[in-house]
Assembly symmetry: C2
Homo-oligomer: 358 residues x 2
């Protein structure tokens, strides 16, 4: 349904209609000019050839330094999504299941499905502020569980995981020798302190990307940090699939890292402001939600809502959102991406609230 809404929105736009698109996590901000210039300079220097499937040495070293690991523990991927796919492919292709708390990012389940792996979902609720029910969590794990996927901060709730919850998930994973895949693409721009899987012992996997941190969504570059054995396997998978991320894009990413503090603080400022705006409007309309603790989303609920119907109807009002059913069994919820300028966001949020309360 996520992709159906998006295709309909694009179709309406092609018909000349103006749609305010709050259905995707693609920020309205532009890629900073310094990053574009770095890519251009690298192209002109001939950095347009085949290269290492593990990524450029200087970029791996810079990332390793930032996270306090060795460059051998880092592999560069075409987006964090490829990091998720490669890890799931390597750990699940020979069978086993994956345990995922919901609401979750759509791609996890679609990937498990294409690999023929069973997905065991653990529902969390708005009412308990998305805290994990550990009885249900332990019940979901069985002898075939190879992997637990965490998304922290979470898409679609923008909630940062409770530290105690995270401690307990990792403790259970370590006891049962299950790999945690921690998708932390929003971690560096979250509004509150956010623990990383790298803060824990155990042989786990962290995935991050440049897309959200540096407004580089369409550049397709991210990375995985894991033990050398898995990094080696991902590199070998890269060799027979994507070969390497273009070196000029890696050079652009290196420049982006040099601007890390400036860029992430700018993004945080914009999205904290928009989160406040959204909270104010949604509260007035008596919609239930948790306040975003990170970019880019808010995931409100209205009792009795059919969010698929709601999302389709809203398109007629020129606003695109994502129905809650795209993130698990959350028909009464919908996801709003705060990825348009404040004035448009204001108009769209008021339209959403009007439609939701009528």
């Amino acid at each position: 349904m996520l992709y159906e809404i998006n295709e309909k929105a694009i179709k309406l736009e092609n018909q000349g209609k103006k749609i305010i698109k709050l259905n995707l996590g693609d920020p309205d901000l532009e890629t900073p000019r310094e990053i574009i210039e770095a890519a251009y300079e690298a192209m002109k220097k001939g950095k347009t050839k085949y290269s290492s499937a593990y990524g450029e040495k200087n970029l791996r070293e810079k990332i390793a330094e930032y996270h306090g690991v060795s460059a051998d523990n880092v592999v560069i991927t075409p987006g964090s999504k490829w990091g998720v796919f490669a890890t799931m492919y390597l750990l699940l292709k020979n069978g086993g299941n994956v345990v995922i708390p919901t609401p979750y990012w759509t791609a996890y389940e679609l990937t498990a499905k294409t690999l023929g792996a069973e997905t065991r979902l653990v529902r969390t609720e708005l009412a308990s502020k998305w805290k994990i029910d550990f009885e249900a969590f332990e019940r979901a794990i069985n002898g075939q569980t190879r992997m637990i996927i965490l998304n922290n901060p979470n898409n679609p709730t923008s909630k940062v995981m409770d530290t105690e919850d995270m401690d307990r998930v990792v403790q259970i994973a370590n006891e049962k020798k299950i790999t945690v895949l921690s998708d932390e693409v929003y971690a560096d721009i979250s509004f509150v302190k956010t623990k990383s899987i790298l803060d824990y012992d155990g042989s786990h996997v962290m995935v991050r990307g440049f897309s959200k941190m540096f407004t580089m969504t369409g550049w397709r570059i991210g990375y995985v940090i894991a033990n050398r054995e898995l990094i080696d396997k991902i590199g070998k998978l890269n060799q027979i699939t994507i070969t390497n991320v273009p070196v000029f894009i890696q050079e652009a990413a290196l420049t982006a890292l040099g601007m890390h503090d400036k860029l992430t603080s700018e993004i945080k400022k914009v999205y904290q402001r928009r989160a406040k705006l959204a909270s104010k409007i949604l509260s007035k309309a008596k919609l239930e939600f948790t306040e975003p603790e990170a970019p880019f989303y808010v995931f409100p609920r209205r009792r009795g809502l059919d969010s698929e119907r709601f999302a389709l109807d809203l398109l007629d009002e020129s606003v695109a959102i994502a129905p809650g059913t795209s993130f698990g069994d959350y028909r009464e919820h919908f996801r709003i991406a705060l990825t348009v300028p404040d004035d448009e966001l204001n108009v769209a949020l008021n339209k959403i609230c009007e439609a939701a309360t009528k």
Copy 2:
């Protein structure tokens, strides 16, 4: 062994040694400046966002027009290698085997291996000018065969497939309802007329790339042409893996297509000249080989040679080549990539011949 040689060559270079690298198909020519400028212009115009997993409409249409198919039959991929992987993944992940004439490109078998699919090889010989032995070919096919892979022109032999052979392969595939995956990355720059799988009836798959045609190896862009059902599946696989090829790279590819005739004729001229140079030197040394009918390789043989030992020893002479064992059971052969300037090539070829005949 292919990757081992390459890593050793890079290591020697890092130690300050000058190595003439004839071990990879990465041309010495630069990406034309017009293509770089097109990418830069697109970046500046903000073409740095998420986009369609199937590729940009204008690029798909241009490619469709060139091949006389519909845009719905085209999907853009990060390199032709991803086209090969995606097709093999979708056709083989639920079992079955793949039949491949040898010598073959290394990635086919590595991909089959990671997918857990059986590879059934059909050996062709220099002595019979790499023609297919159809008795062996039909014996290789059984009830579990899902796919036949052709590489035309071939890497490592640079031989264009005999038309009668190709007719017969396709006829057998059609009779037995087996998909032919035709990897045609060298087709547009081949020196002789080369038939495409698109010239035949039947539901087959063609893979091409921009790397070799336009000296864009490190840009990672290619495409697949197939029936709409498979294109749809590859697009859906793209959505959960690579998302999309960066739009600014697709814009660069569009510019490259506009320069198609000029660029391909330049590349052909350079590699025909180098092929002649190589033929002359290798003939004098009494090495056996077939004359290249396409860029970039020649695949000579010396009876009794252990090409793995030979490749390692040649590194001491500052020349890197690929042993024949990287392309199947061809220990007496080795592959030379003619991808360095003529003067260096001349030096390297003489060193190779000296070492091979001593």
